[in-house]
Amino acid sequence: MTASNLSAANRGLVLPHYPPAVGVHPPLDSPAYASSRLRHPKQPLVPLPQRLTEITGPLLGPERVTAADADLTAGHAGEPLGERIVVTGRVLDSDGRPVPDALIEIWQANASGRYAHAVDDHPAPLDPNFTGGGRCVTDSLGRYRFVTIKPGPYPWGNHYNAWRPAHIHFSLFGRAFTQRLITQMFFPGDPLFSLDPIFNSIPDPAARQRLISSFDIDTTVPEWALGYTWDIVLRGRTATFFEQPEGR
């Protein structure tokens, strides 16, 4: 596209804007989490205005997901060991709007706290009937639902006698580059919360609580699986109109 075409094309561009999530996310420099020491930038971040590349993003919809992908207990010769659970909720933005047709990807340890990954050397058993990866797409109301087993807590090398609280990793795209989020969902009442430097890297204690799912008897399936609910909130957006100077 030529410069003059671009100049004409930008007349009256109306772009949504995603206000910053001030005070929500953990600082990249979090000394209690030892692995962050060499993996955080030391130079200040440069503000990036939200323009066309930032207010758009990959819309990865149903074409890459089958219904079976949302059931982590399926797809193997037998059933995995552990507590079968249902994890369900909604993806919303911070203005309360549902985020429909959005890809969610999850991964987790098995019931013994072992990941089916070559790097995991925790001496707990692998489960031949559990791989631990799943995906689904939110429906028109932003709802998602997974069937899986409750992951176990596991030790890690951050400090002496360090254990991660049980968690499921969640990856979300939303509808814009600004909304991309990868996080972890925890389970209510875990005694390891106060000891976990990753959970406690979130500066606001109230924001930490938002990573903890709720047990829900109405989600629980009789004679079959306990139910947990967890809503995920992405950055919201507002429409911003840019007045164009005359004669441009």
């Binding site: 596209m1 410069a3 671009l6 100049s7 094309a9 930008n10 561009l13 772009l15 949504p16 910053p20 999530a21 001030v22 005070g23 929500v24 600082p27 990249l28 979090s30 692995s35 962050s36 020491r37 060499l38 993996r39 030391k42 130079q43 971040l45 440069v46 205005p49 323009r51 066309l52 590349t53 930032e54 207010i55 758009t56 990959p58 819309l59 990807e105 991964w107 340890a109 089916a116 990954h117 790097v119 995991d120 990793h169 990856s171 580059f177 600004t178 991309r180 990868i182 996080t183 972890q184 990753i198 979130i202 924001a207 938002r210 990573l211 995920i232 909130v233 992405l234 840019f242 164009q244």
Partner: protein, 200 residues
């Protein structure tokens, strides 16, 4: 906390086992490799000690060669890409040597609401164990000298010497038949020649 941030779900690290959930076999292919004009962008992700990260994930997002996005929030309208199979999105986990690789097309330049023109670029997210949130950077091309000189984002980087960390460099043609154009873009998370990262 500002009211706009009320209720937003905090980020957590991807941890060391992201390979169980995130890589796709076709993830690095923003376009199929045989697409005319396809180019490779590759490099290594390095920590503050200069060691490669074998457990990072690099994601890219970009306009198509006609400067358009297949997305309803683009006020110019969603545009189906003219090139079959182009999806704008690339995803590559790093290998044991910290190397990522994507195959894509050069994006077009983009208009901005205030009348400037952004040079061809890709937005980049980097995730890894040890990173509690993603970091965001951009990839520009070293053969776009004039467009880069006019790019409002590059020009906004306060330390001009650091702008080079945002520019992928063309690699010499190997001369082998069927070889594609290659660009190198390393990502240094910390320390000497640290990549410029953005707050978006």
């Amino acid at each position: 906390m500002s009211s706009a941030a009320a209720g937003i779900t905090p980020s957590q690290t991807v941890g060391p086992f992201l390979a169980l959930g995130l890589p796709w076999p076709h993830g690095p292919f923003v376009v199929p490799a045989e697409t005319p004009g396809a180019l490779e962008i590759s490099g290594v992700v390095l920590d503050g000690a200069g060691h490669p990260l074998p457990d990072a994930l690099v994601e890219t997002w970009q306009a198509d060669p006609d400067s358009r996005f297949d997305h309803p929030d683009d006020p110019r309208g969603a545009a189906r890409p003219a090139v079959a199979g182009f999806r704008g999105f690339g995803r590559s986990a790093t290998d044991g040597e910290g190397r990522y690789q994507i195959i894509t097309l050069r994006p077009g330049a983009l208009p901005t609401p205030d009348g400037a023109i952004e040079a061809p670029h890709l937005d980049v997210s980097v995730f890894a164990r040890g990173m509690l949130d993603r970091v965001v950077t951009r990839i520009y091309f070293d053969d776009e000298t004039d467009a880069n000189a006019a790019d409002p984002v590059l020009q906004s980087v306060p330390d001009a010497t650091r702008r080079a960390t945002l520019i992928a460099t063309a690699e010499a043609d190997t001369g082998e038949p069927g070889d594609i154009v290659r660009f190198r873009f390393d990502i240094r998370l910390q320390g000497g020649n640290e990549t410029v990262f953005f707050d978006v």
